[in-house]
């Protein structure tokens, strides 16, 4: 099956190896006989409604400021897509922009698109380090690396992506990391998140396939993930040994 992916602002928000996540999705789809068809959605481009998966990565503050006004113009189309059960993965800066707003250190407010029930306020120190999450909704853990000045606060009824076992998470105090809404996932875990967390890559693929077929998320055939699981172990151990403490 052909899975259509809309990659938002790859020219601007591409720091921290976002293409690695796309490469992993493409390869894991291919090995199950599917094909990932990735299209860039840039500044001023319309958002076609037929993508099965949207992806937005992280950028530096300057790039984020450059895309924020444009993203605001795409908010209705993106919100409608998620309500229509398209999958969405938003990482780091992209995650922040999906919330209602981002307030920088100077107090200036950058509008978000309100797709996720959260808001972000910049802190004066960055939260940097290895991080490990427990995701009870999936019965799995996620291992990664975070580097953000923003403190993200979820609304009371919002679901986090996971609970922090080691590291800072959304704000360094709540014990929550990321946010999950329908088939949209936002997280601060950047870079090669999917290579070392293959279950999450497969979950996103299954969500995208479900959108494609209009049915239930399929059970994907298991792959040989020996290297992936070994990398997950090392990354988890790093987080336990030296992840940020709050």
């Amino acid at each position: 099956m052909r899975i259509r992916v809309g990659h938002l602002y790859p020219d601007y928000l591409n720091i921290y190896a976002d293409r690695g996540n796309i490469a992993v999705l493409a390869e894991r789809a291919r090995r199950r006989g599917h094909e990932l068809d990735v299209a860039a959605i840039g500044l001023g481009d319309p958002v076609p409604g037929d993508f099965d998966l949207y992806y937005v990565g992280g950028g530096q503050d300057r790039e984020q400021e450059l895309v924020a006004p444009d993203l605001a113009g795409k908010s209705e189309a993106l919100r409608a897509a998620v309500e229509d059960d398209a999958a969405f993965l938003a990482v780091c800066g992209g995650y922040q922009l999906l919330g209602r707003s981002y307030r920088d250190v100077a107090g200036a407010e950058l509008p978000g698109i309100g797709l996720l029930p959260l808001q972000t306020v910049a802190g004066t120190t960055r939260m940097i380090g290895d991080v490990l999450l427990d995701c009870p909704w999936a019965g799995r853990t996620l291992a990664g690396f975070e580097n953000h000045a923003g403190r993200t606060l979820l609304d009371a009824e919002a679901e986090p992506l996971g609970h922090v076992l080691a590291g800072f998470g959304n704000d360094g105090v709540s014990g929550q990391e990321g946010c999950r809404y329908r088939r949209a996932y936002g997280t601060y875990l950047h870079g090669p998140l999917l290579p070392r967390n293959p279950w999450f890559a497969d979950r996103i693929l299954a969500d995208a396939l479900a959108h494609r077929t209009g049915g239930e998320a399929p059970q994907l055939e298991p792959l040989d993930d020996e290297l992936e699981l070994a990398a997950h172990e090392v990354s988890s151990a790093r987080a336990r040994a030296r992840g940020g403490r709050y």
């Binding site: 020219d11 601007y12 591409n14 720091i15 921290y16 190896a17 293409r19 690695g20 490469a23 992993v24 390869e27 530096q60 503050d61 300057r62 790039e63 450059l66 960055r126 940097i128 380090g129 290895d130 690396f145 580097n147 950047h190 870079g191 090669p192 290579p195 070392r196 040989d224 290297l227 992936e228 070994a230 990398a231 090392v234 990354s235 790093r238 030296r242």
Partner: protein, 463 residues
């Protein structure tokens, strides 16, 4: 004895104890002790240098560029005080000055030559009151440690436009828009750059930074891209464009991993340079070094001879013969640098076996995400076996697996020593083995190879 000389003696004693205790190198500790005893030690000792100081900073190529300047100044007969072992934060600079200090307010050397860590430039340079500041490039690098690129650019801009910059000759890379922009308010600037579209790359590499104008935010238009975001650019919105370089390389001929030749064009005339270090990135290093030395009134022919004599800084394109195999050690530390290593390897006979060592200590960057920004893919066509090693060997293995290297051809070998031996065993006699370590892996590799008697320890070489 003056008070400072007492403190110098105390700091030296600490350094010698540490070294005797075998605590690797101890290259910055004596300086840290000295700075704790005397916070103004750097400026006090630097003031003893009769010809003043010059400083070099960049994301990539600091150590090599400073080595090139040192080689030229050696030819010019100028004795330098130089942190050649690469200890480039305040402690390292202080250690170097400490080692050169002599009694009676004397110092053993005439000109200070200091490479300075990007993040320390605004703290260390003002203490040195340098007469020359060479700024080579800014690439995304270890964002877990340094924060975002724009933050460093802002700090550098404050140095360039502040009192330190106003009293110095500033040498800037015209081809790097982030660097060239630092000269906007300074009258006394020398720009260097490449003027040879035949060595351009067809499109921008994945990890390219600074694609948007620092003044107005519009995307730069590039007529030529040489490396990363370095090239001939202009902003279609505000009109900002690459300054015309007064020191340039023309007629470039790259010779694989061995070196290159080019025509060095300067205000003092032109001359052919044979550079014994490989890759376009080293031509940029050589241009910066040449521009700085010419500003110091070194004659052009001395510059050319000095560049021709330069030796690889440790772990940077260094060649070590081990048995019948020539091992090439090429440090990788960030996407732009690693991309140039890949390009250089491809320009020679592409390696059939590579040992890549990925560590994740602070000096390597704890965040290993950057390996996904490196364009390793062109290596795949010739690569028969990848030996992945280091603390994050599995992450590296995954990088190549998802790039398309069959998993059967990837070997994860935890120990660096076992990985090196595996690489040597896989390499036929008379062939070359490419070893690409990150920083702490490179240090470990040096110790390992030295313990087998192949190269000197770097702090001995630096002495």
């Amino acid at each position: 004895m003056t008070l400072l000389s007492t403190k110098i003696a105390a700091a030296r004693a600490v350094g010698s104890v540490v070294r005797r205790a075998g605590r690797g190198g101890g290259t910055s500790l004596p300086g840290k002790v000295l700075l704790a005893l005397e916070p103004h030690a750097i400026s006090e000792l630097a003031a003893r240098l009769p010809r003043g100081s010059v400083v070099v900073s960049a994301t990539n190529g600091k150590t090599t560029t400073a080595a090139m300047v040192a080689s030229v100044l050696d030819r010019a007969g100028v004795p330098v005080v130089h942190n050649r072992a690469g200890a480039n934060m305040a402690g390292g600079v202080a250690s170097t000055l400490l080692a050169a200090a002599r009694g009676g307010d004397q110092i053993d050397g005439e000109l200070g030559l200091f490479e300075i860590d990007e993040f320390w430039l605004d703290r260390v340079a003002p203490q040195l009151e340098p007469r020359g500041i060479l700024l080579g490039n800014l690439f995304r690098d270890q964002l877990d440690r340094y924060g975002e690129l724009d933050t460093i650019a802002d700090r550098w801009a404050a140095v360039a436009s502040g009192p330190t910059g106003r009293h110095a000759r500033i040498v800037l890379n015209a081809d790097d828009p982030l660097i060239a922009d630092l000269g906007r308010d300074s009258p006394d600037v020398t720009y260097f750059g490449i003027e040879d579209p035949s060595v351009a790359i067809p499109e921008m590499q994945h990890a390219s930074d600074s694609k948007h104008c620092r003044r107005c935010g519009a995307a730069y238009v590039y007529d030529v891209i040489y490396l990363g975001h370095l090239g001939v650019y202009r902003c279609p919105s505000c009109g900002r464009e690459r300054p015309q370089p007064s020191v340039a390389a023309e007629q470039i001929s790259l010779d694989g991993t061995r070196g290159s030749r080019f025509e060095l064009v300067t205000g003092a005339g032109r001359a052919g340079v044979t550079l014994p270090l490989p890759g376009l990135y080293n031509i940029y290093n050589a241009l910066g070094a040449a521009a700085l030395c010419l500003d110091l009134q070194v004659p052009l022919d001395t510059v050319v001879t000095g560049l021709g004599d330069v030796r690889a800084a440790f772990g940077r394109a260094e060649r070590i013969a081990i048995g019948e195999v020539e091992v090439q050690v090429m440090l990788i530390k960030n996407p732009a640098g690693a991309n140039e290593i890949v390009r250089t390897l491809l320009d020679a006979d592409p390696p059939r076996v590579a040992v890549i060592a990925l560590n994740d200590e602070i000096a390597d960057g704890r965040d290993v995400s950057w390996i996904w920004d490196v364009d390793f893919e062109p290596l795949l066509s010739g690569l028969e076996t990848l030996v992945a090693t280091g603390a994050r060997a599995e992450e590296l293995a995954l990088r190549f697996a998802y790039a398309g290297l069959p998993r059967a051809r990837i070997e994860v070998v935890g120990s660096l020593e076992a990985a090196l031996d595996r690489g040597l065993a896989l390499t036929p006699a008379g062939d070359e083995l490419a070893v690409l370590p990150t920083y702490t892996a490179m240090l470990a590799l040096r110790r390992l190879v030295a313990s087998r008697g192949y190269v000197a320890n770097y702090w001995e070489a630096a002495a």
